[in-house]
């Protein structure tokens, strides 16, 4: 507790001493200056004329988008099915790849903390750092447009996410149980199957459902770069300025996301 000695030697309590208080102020000032500078850059790059006009444009678009073109829904079932497949299969393959990566990355299971662990960690960071839309962009360039590229993009993006959560779960396991299995004379793989797998299985199931939910959201927009799913219809409608279709598609996406969130919450509740 910082205290200040007054002239006659009595102590006065203060929340922070002067130096700490000054540092705090300085930090706030620096933060404010950085923010203002950032804002100035954004503002300089903006054509303010358009912005002042924005309410009118927004009203205009809103007027044209309402009411949504309900009949168009018939054309959306197939893309919706594709979107579901992209997310589900992508999650499925991501999980298959994430398991070995997680075991190689966890401190207590990695075969070599010096050589293999950094590689596994790099795979995780690389996969996580790059948005699935960028992966999709890349994969469309490599594999050609279509839902296959979308699925691979989702899978690649999810590997890092799942592996990260999984290896954290592996690092938190109870080592006593592992030791007990080791002490029976079990082999390395048996120790894994009996000592480690049962302990991380609930975490694994939770991660799978959690990521599936996220992937549904992400796969709804992959079509914007040609990777299949309902995003493709969105892009088509935007390009032709078919606003009533756009509003319908956004409503459908909204509904899908809410349903997937509900499903994942239910499944998670059932597992745990």
């Amino acid at each position: 507790m910082p205290q200040v000695l007054t002239g006659d030697g009595t102590k006065i309590w203060m929340l922070r001493d002067r130096k700490a208080q000054f540092t705090r102020w300085a930090a706030w000032m620096v933060g404010a200056i950085i923010f203002l500078w950032c804002w100035k850059q954004i503002s300089d790059a903006t054509t303010w004329f358009f912005v002042w006009d924005a309410p009118r444009i927004a009203g205009d678009i809103g007027g044209r988008a309402m009411p949504p073109r309900w009949e168009y829904i018939d054309k959306l079932w197939k893309p919706l099915w594709d979107t579901l497949n992209i997310a589900t299969l992508g999650t499925f393959f991501a999980l298959i790849m994430a398991v070995p990566v997680a075991f190689l990355a966890a401190k207590n299971t990695t075969p070599s903390a010096l050589f293999i662990r950094p590689v596994a960690l790099f795979i995780i960071v690389a996969s996580r750092s790059i948005n699935s839309l960028i992966w999709a962009l890349l994969l469309v360039a490599i594999l050609g447009p279509g839902i296959f590229a979308g699925m691979v993009a989702i899978a690649i993006r999810s590997v890092g996410f799942c592996a990260k959560l999984l290896y954290e779960a592996i690092e938190e396991i109870d080592l006593k149980q592992v030791e007990a299995i080791t002490a029976t004379g079990a082999s390395r793989w048996q120790v894994m199957a009996y000592g480690i797998v049962p302990q991380i299985l609930p975490a694994f199931a939770g991660i799978a459902v959690f990521r599936w939910d996220i992937n549904i959201r992400e796969s709804t927009v992959l079509g914007l770069v040609g990777a299949g799913g309902i995003g493709l219809q969105l892009k088509g409608s935007l390009d032709t300025l078919a606003w009533p279709q756009v509003s319908l598609i956004i409503l459908v996406i909204f509904g899908t996301v809410i349903v997937s969130e509900w499903v994942s919450a239910r499944v998670r509740g059932a597992i745990i």
Binding site: I42, I57, N85, I130, N131, G144, T220
Partner: protein
């Protein structure tokens, strides 16, 4: 704990009989139904994938070139574009995180059932739900249509997304924060503002700081795609690079993103340790 006589299990009944692990799902029809359903789905979904394997085969070569490009990334040919895009991405993320935090605090207070009255609660929860359900890129498309091209649309998109993210987690935190401690402050006769300031803020603050840095990280990663729809940032440069098959430039940009994300994660680790 003695079982009733007729239920008592006798060793002689069990020895010589096989043993099987009790299944996770007890009801047989449900278990088999789920397994079968899962398999059928997998087959149908894979069949509907409709992969053009010759195209994929041709693509492998390009994929390999891309992997090679990572060993030899080209930072120089488009140095000016990369630099400008990166700076714009960083600026957008920082500004959006600051605004996101500032706006998420009132929304979080409103979305916490133990603090806010019902109408306010419903409105704030609505905002959170909207922001979470609408993908950033869709919001960005609409905002670009409204505000025109440029980082302003991206900045607003990221701010809006940050509000949903931060406010939801913060509201949950506030909802299960230590009641007695907050009530002790209220018991002293403090006003609502004082109550928030002394009873709620100290408990939520460390987590808010941790979450903010995490959100900065997410915003930066998201900012990389906003350029695809003209909302500013590095995405535009990246898109051009892919379109022209300039994999070495794309690799350079991706590497930069990875390095910055790693740095942010490192910093957030330090700050989190420092806050606690």
């Amino acid at each position: 704990m003695s079982a009733p006589v007729e239920e008592r299990i006798l060793l002689d009944d069990l020895v010589g009989k096989g043993w099987r692990k009790p299944p996770f799902i007890k009801r047989g029809w449900l278990r088999w139904g789920l397994i079968l359903g899962g398999l059928v789905y997998l087959v149908v979904a894979l069949a509907s994938m409709d992969v053009n394997w010759t195209r994929v085969y041709e693509g492998l070569d390009r994929g390999w070139q891309f992997v090679l490009a990572f060993t030899n990334p080209d930072f120089t040919s488009r140095a000016a574009d990369i630099k400008e895009g990166m700076i714009e991405s960083i600026i957008m993320s920082i500004a959006a995180t600051v605004v996101g935090i500032a706006l998420s605090i009132p929304v979080a207070l409103g979305a916490a059932r133990n603090i806010a009255p019902l109408p306010v609660y419903l409105v704030c929860r609505g905002i959170v739900a909207m922001s979470r359900a609408l993908n950033e890129i869709i919001v960005a498309i609409l905002l670009v249509a409204i505000f025109g091209f440029g980082p302003l649309a991206g900045f607003i998109t990221l701010s809006f997304a940050s509000i949903g993210f931060l406010a939801k987690l913060l509201a949950e935190d506030i909802e299960d924060l230590d009641r007695s401690q907050a009530e002790a402050v209220k018991a002293t006769g403090a006003s609502w503002m004082q109550w928030i300031n002394y009873g709620v803020q100290p408990q939520v603050m460390p987590r808010l700081i941790g979450l903010s840095i995490y959100r900065l990280d997410i915003n930066f990663r998201e900012s990389a795609i906003l350029g695809l729809v003209g909302a500013g940032g590095i995405g535009a440069t990246l898109n051009t690079a892919f379109d022209r098959y300039e994999f070495d430039t794309a690799a350079a940009i991706l590497l930069l993103i990875i390095v910055i994300v790693m740095a942010l994660e490192y910093i957030s680790g330090i700050v989190r340790g420092w806050v606690q």
